[in-house]
Amino acid sequence: MKHIYLLGASLLVLASCKPNLEPTKPTSGDANFTSYVAIGNSLTAGYADGTLYRSGQINSYPNMLAEMFAFAGGGDFKQPLLPGDAGWPSLKYVLGVSSTGSLGPTAYSGTMDTAGSGTNVYAAGPYNNVGIPGIRCIDYIMPGYATANPYAARLVNSPMQTALAMATSKPATFYTVWLGANDVLGYATGGGVGTVNTGVTYPTATNNISSTTLFGFCYDSVVNNLARTGAKGALINIPDVTSIPYFTTVPYNPLNAADPNFGPQIATLNAQFAQLNQVFTALGKPERKIIFNTTGLSPLLIKDKNLTDLSAQMTTVLTAAGLPAAQATLYGQLYGQCRQATAADLMVLPSSSVIAKPNATAIAAGVPQQLAINGVTYPLEDRFVLTGDFKDGTSNVSGEIALAKTATAAFNAIIAAKAQAKGWALVDMNKFFASLQAGMKFNGVTFGVSFVSGGLFSLDGVHGTQRGYAVVANEIIRAINLHYGSTIPVVDVNKYPGIKFP
């Protein structure tokens, strides 16, 4: 009879067979996550694939942070969610297959669920995620900014309410602030067409680099205001915008001699440019010579507005050489401020749709078709190229990239100083993005910065995929834990969706 006892005991053990491993309880350290508010721009709002949509907002990095903060005393996290997933105001990009069979971003063509997106939702607030796509640091304390930005217009209680006043309508105990990327990104994505502002100039055009003075003033105001109630937080600095796929996907030398549409033309092209090349040499600018390689890859022909404009001299020389006046003038106009791209130049993502195609505007203006091929016979316009430095004859020409980098460094110095002064955590996202260039892994998945295949950047080449935002969230958590002695757990990157393939 004893044995029945034994069998009963065994069955009990059988039923209760389970590891007793329990996770360690996260702690908040010196921080207080009771009420968390995220200040920032599109990155903070959960913008992706060229627009803002509901599922992207739901998986914004601030929401991921809030989920983790909840393990250590964090409270509810409310976001101003859009009604649908199609993208607003513009439709989101999805991956499609082109007629040539290649994969690329195309406009979403599914269910249109954007109705009501423009409705002001202030009354349902206050919100914990007050990220406003497009907003610059210098816009954050500007009354009336909401009249120019539909995303801001949704959130404010009146068109004149500043973003800062809206964000602080309910004081928080912990803030993350990721402001400033748009103070340089607009210039860079615009191919450097804009200018660098100085002093207290407040440009409404978003393709300028903000004045460092104004940036510093605004950043100070914002953080001082957040900290006035004794709140703590983390200041996130600006990644070097030139390291993102928007700039690194289109190569400077995509023209392939093996391409049947290009290869057979190379001899003719080189013969045509030979005469022009003699002029460049004669004018002391041999680096501007235009030569296409008969095998392998050749660089694009680009406009570089920082080069000395040689139009007049070229026309003179060509006329003297016996070219008809009209032709000499056209050549001077077309090639007076151009050069072939180098590895130091960055082509913006939209350039891929114009390269090696006829420039309709130029043709309409009277340029013969054979001289109007973008990047081949017609210099790729300024807006498609963020230029690097270039040695032009005896002068060293500093490019647009240098301006963007200088501004980024200046803004980051302001952010770092502010974090230091307030005793807040500094998240060096710039350094982290630089480290991502070499790739990273998470539970067996390799992530990289290449467009689409890297998995971190969404189809606009600037903003994250939801997995990319999770990687960002983990870097923020790392910095917060380091600074505040908290033990907030990392986000499961693999839980979030990635890019969908047809």
Partner: protein
């Protein structure tokens, strides 16, 4: 005999085995499981065909058949560290290692035997949903190994007997892992590798009655290496990427390591016998897990994952108590260390040092029939695990319980 064969067939079909250090399964006899897996020195029954062929000449009487099977329930938990934001848990089906032994005593000196058993195997199912962060490393693995072993044993003298068997081993593996590519519905890609291999090895042993109280057993089972030369590799990915993941074949190689055992039995009195045993398991031969594909692409590349397992020594202690003429009671413990070194965590074998406790009984129904039952329980250490190559870091623990039953029949 016809009926018995059908039982065997059904067991073969349902067999999916699991569990011991690495992917060794030490459940090849009921008495032996119940005594902490110790088995080499005490010659109780014809399960010695597996545990120590040298003892078969002593255990075989007339013609015998022996059949036993175990049902194992195992669960592993993974929690991310330093503090857990996410956890994963296996949902393994019950696995059923089994064994069948036949023996025939040819004359006073010689016994013949035949064994069918499952010395290695593993079934781990972490799941394929996004609740399992480890799914790109492994979603599911089913590793099976069934050995067929004709055996001969020879009684050298009153005290010493020896034996050896030829091992014909069949193995199969099915492995599924997630591919982080999503179709328009958000469904994730999956890769499935399925392969089979056969191999041969041997199993030999010596058993000696040192004196009235002491017995000694030594056994050695050779390594069996499974070389899968033409397994099937199939990938389910979004259609625009199908060319990147062609259906192809793969080759891979997996060692089932050598095991050397030394056991000592001590008869305390007429009722109680104790046994101590040490096993050496040569896991060092598991250097890496490599998959070589017949067709590769820029996205489907041959892979090599370092394993670098280490040899282990397992210590076992068992007790056997003859309660009365009909009933035997057994209990045991063992310390079974993990062959997986720190820094080589792989969720396909989520391994940690384990301490196991076992118990069992044998009831003699008649002179011909014995019924046997055992149970086995273990909870591994909570182990900090990581693998920098895969950027995985966490803590794991496994709990397992197994119930075994068996019957032996003397003709």
């Amino acid at each position: 005999m016809k009926r018995k064969l059908s039982i065997i067939t059904s067991l073969l079909l349902s067999s999916s085995v699991v569990f011991a250090g690495g992917f060794q399964v030490n459940m090849q006899g009921v008495r032996q499981v119940a005594m902490g897996g110790s088995s080499t020195a005490l010659a109780y029954d014809i399960a010695s065909i597996f545990y120590n062929p040298g003892a078969l000449a002593k255990t075989a009487k007339g013609t015998q058949v022996y059949l036993s099977a175990n049902g194992i329930f195992a669960k592993t938990t993974f929690v991310s560290t330093p503090t857990a934001g996410y956890t994963s848990q296996t949902d393994n089906p019950m696995s059923t290692p089994f064994n069948l032994y036949l023996s025939h005593k040819l004359n006073d000196k010689i016994a013949l035997g035949f064994g069918v058993y499952t010395p290695f195997g593993s079934t781990v199912n972490w799941g394929n949903t996004n609740a399992n962060s480890l799914r790109y490393l492994i979603e599911k693995i089913e590793l099976r190994n069934i050995n067929f072993q004709p055996t001969i044993s020879y009684q050298v003298n009153d005290k010493v007997s020896i034996g050896a068997g030829l091992v014909y081993a069949t193995g199969s593996v099915v492995l599924e892992k997630g591919i982080p590519l999503f179709d328009p519905n958000g469904k994730e890609g999956v890769g499935r590798l399925e392969g089979k291999a056969n191999s041969i090895g041997f199993n030999m042993g010596v058993h000696a009655q040192l004196n009235d109280r002491l017995t000694l057993g030594v056994s050695y089972r050779s390594q069996v290496r499974f070389d899968i030369t033409s397994g099937d590799a199939t990938f389910t990915v979004p259609s625009s990427l199908a060319a990147n993941f062609p259906t192809t074949t793969f080759s891979a190689s997996l060692p089932m390591p050598q095991v050397a055992s030394l056991g000592l039995g001590y008869k305390v009195n007429n009722k109680l016998t104790l046994q101590g045993e040490m096993n050496f398991v040569g896991w060092e031969s598991y250097k890496s897990l490599d998959f070589t594909y017949a067709k590769t692409t820029t996205t489907l590349m041959n892979s090599t994952s370092a394993r670098n397992w280490e040899n282990v020594f397992i210590f076992r202690l068992g007790a056997h108590y003859q309660y009365n003429d009909r009933l035997e009671l057994m209990a045991g413990i063992a310390r079974d260390p993990s062959p997986v070194k720190d820094g080589y965590f792989s969720p396909e074998t989520p391994d940690a040092n384990r301490f196991l406790t076992t118990a069992g009984l044998v009831y003699k129904v008649s002179d011909k029939i014995n019924l046997m039952a055992s149970y086995y329980y273990t909870q591994t250490d909570q182990r900090e695990v990581y693998n920098n190559a895969d950027a995985v870091k966490g803590k794991i623990q496994t709990a397992a319980v197994a119930g075994g039953i068996g019957v032996s029949y003397k003709f």
